[in-house]
Point group: C2
Chain length 322, copies 2
């Protein structure tokens, strides 16, 4: 897909990936709503196939490619969810998937990608090594690159999350989603502003990976060299495509401290009885601490996923307890 | 209610409590189903009001009492969920609730009961002190006793969980539920056998609180004097009413070790992204370890609730990790 997605593109993506992704539930939390004096609609992508929204974008990208382009398979670099999502999507079209992963990736993540039938190619840590290895893989295999977020088909796929949410709850005043590489935020922004032009869009970002915040303030793409946050899904930097969309459509980016992420995860676990990953906690935190004023409003929140390894979960619950 | 509930009684209870309780979702877990080669339908009472099925029974009991009987309020003894459920139900009829709680109850549980407007009367630990204190409270206040489980209206209310499950999935081969005082199991047994006489009913009990197992084997009510299990909801013993129903209708009781409870909770958290309390883990464990053979069957499981304090949760996640 060579053109920036529109609402129509995202609606087409929704039809394309139907049956391959879960139409996830929208949940409410009476305790949160009473505390904040607002109506809060939480889109539960933690119940998505493989536990995260990433399945939407990878699936749309793989299903969008024509037979010739996909004949030699697809390839990407990923430290986790996108690699697994791409592997699963490729297996559904019976083509190979090649996933470049840093050698220090969690063993369970590498195994998950392999379980879906992908070939994992390990690389050094750091973006340079990833990209160099990926280039080599693309050369050798002739596979088609599917970037984790800076790809219009991926962006359109992620946008289907907001499309579903607004189909169920059309009259939202505000939509909050976390920002990492920006694929989710930009796709959801196009869908939400397309369906409801007056909606306010707020991105939430960890203070320790604030490239979107600084890029928006600075008016140009500023890379985050050393992201430092427990929200592993948000350590990536915006790409040129996602930055351009976010710059056009987003009303504000708010920053979230690490302690707030743990507290938000613990709160959701206790009051909603659902497990969300740290990245999803980043979207909940600014509501709870008042950074985003929601009183009297109808607010949508994208809970990106529920993939958190056991050790991190225990650490976060302990951090919230202290 | 002075007569043993029937399917009709439970259907009436369902109509009575409609709007006061959540019609909870039935969830599936593809990973569990693939592993076991079975279709598993999990009734998610962790999403019930106040996080547990107890709301059903307390609500039915309070709404069943006539105005005269309830004028002076309701009373019970409880170490947690039933007390809070009764307090909430009483507040909806604008009558007082008196809840006798052991003085070593978790502070958060006492506060929860008080938050719903009940008067908490603290007592010593042990059943004798509880009952003595409750007798005194009943004398002094003229309130009506609503026993946590050995009460036909409570039993009928709990049975609505199975009624909902079988309305949604009528052709179950097997239903598994945990057994503590037996209110849930006996109510669900009446509903399930009433709707589907051929269904097999299995109760799951912690090895450290195996009074139902021993009572059924012995053919008479055998009290468990020193229950020892993390599943706090299952430390109670059957009463005469729940024992009689369970003896009539249940096909088997299986025992679950403590480690299996932690493993089941961890599994559900990881693969379903939902939080269940230890008592609910007791119902999942015997499927996972093969104690109950489910291959090729359609199986219903009642996930009783999701109330687990933070410290216990961390301990259980750590136990599962080791």
């Amino acid at each position: 897909m060579s053109k920036r997605p529109t609402l129509t593109t995202i609606q087409e993506a929704a039809r394309r990936i139907e049956g391959f992704v879960v139409h996830t539930p929208v949940m409410r939390c009476p305790h949160l709503e009473q505390t904040l004096g607002a109506e809060i609609f939480l889109k539960c992508e933690n119940f998505q196939t493989m536990g995260a929204f990433k399945q939407r974008g990878a699936c749309n990208a793989v299903l969008s490619l024509d037979d010739d382009a996909i004949r030699r398979g697809v390839a990407t670099h990923s430290s986790g969810n996108h690699g697994a999502a791409l592997a699963l999507a490729a297996s559904r079209r019976h083509v190979p998937a090649f996933v470049v992963m840093p050698q220090d990736s969690a063993r369970v993540k590498i195994e998950a990608v392999e379980r879906y039938g992908a070939t994992v190619i390990e690389c050094g840590t750091g973006l340079a090594s990833r990209e160099e290895t990926l280039d080599k893989v693309l050369d050798e295999t002739g596979a088609t690159l599917v970037h984790p977020y800076n790809d219009y088909a991926v962006i359109a796929g992620q946008g289907t999350a907001a499309l579903e949410l607004l189909s169920e709850v059309p009259d939202l005043d505000l939509l909050v989603a976390p920002v990492g590489g920006g694929g989710l935020m930009s796709g959801c922004a196009i869908a939400a502003k397309g369906l409801r032009p007056g909606i306010r869009l707020v991105g939430a970002e960890p203070s320790g990976a604030d490239d979107a915040f600084r890029s928006l303030r600075g008016g140009k793409l500023i890379q985050q060299q050393t992201p430092n946050t427990v929200a592993d899904g948000l350590r990536a930097c915006l790409g040129d495509k996602t930055f351009a969309i976010i710059q056009d459509l987003i009303d504000d980016i708010v920053l979230v401290e690490e302690q707030e992420i743990a507290t938000a995860m613990g709160y959701v676990l206790e009051h909603m009885k659902i497990l969300i990953e740290p990245s999803a906690g980043v979207a909940v935190a600014p509501l709870r601490d008042g950074t985003v004023d929601v009183r009297g409003k109808r607010v949508g929140v994208i809970l990106t996923g529920g993939n958190v390894d056991r050790e991190t979960l225990i650490q976060m619950l302990q951090a919230d307890q202290d």
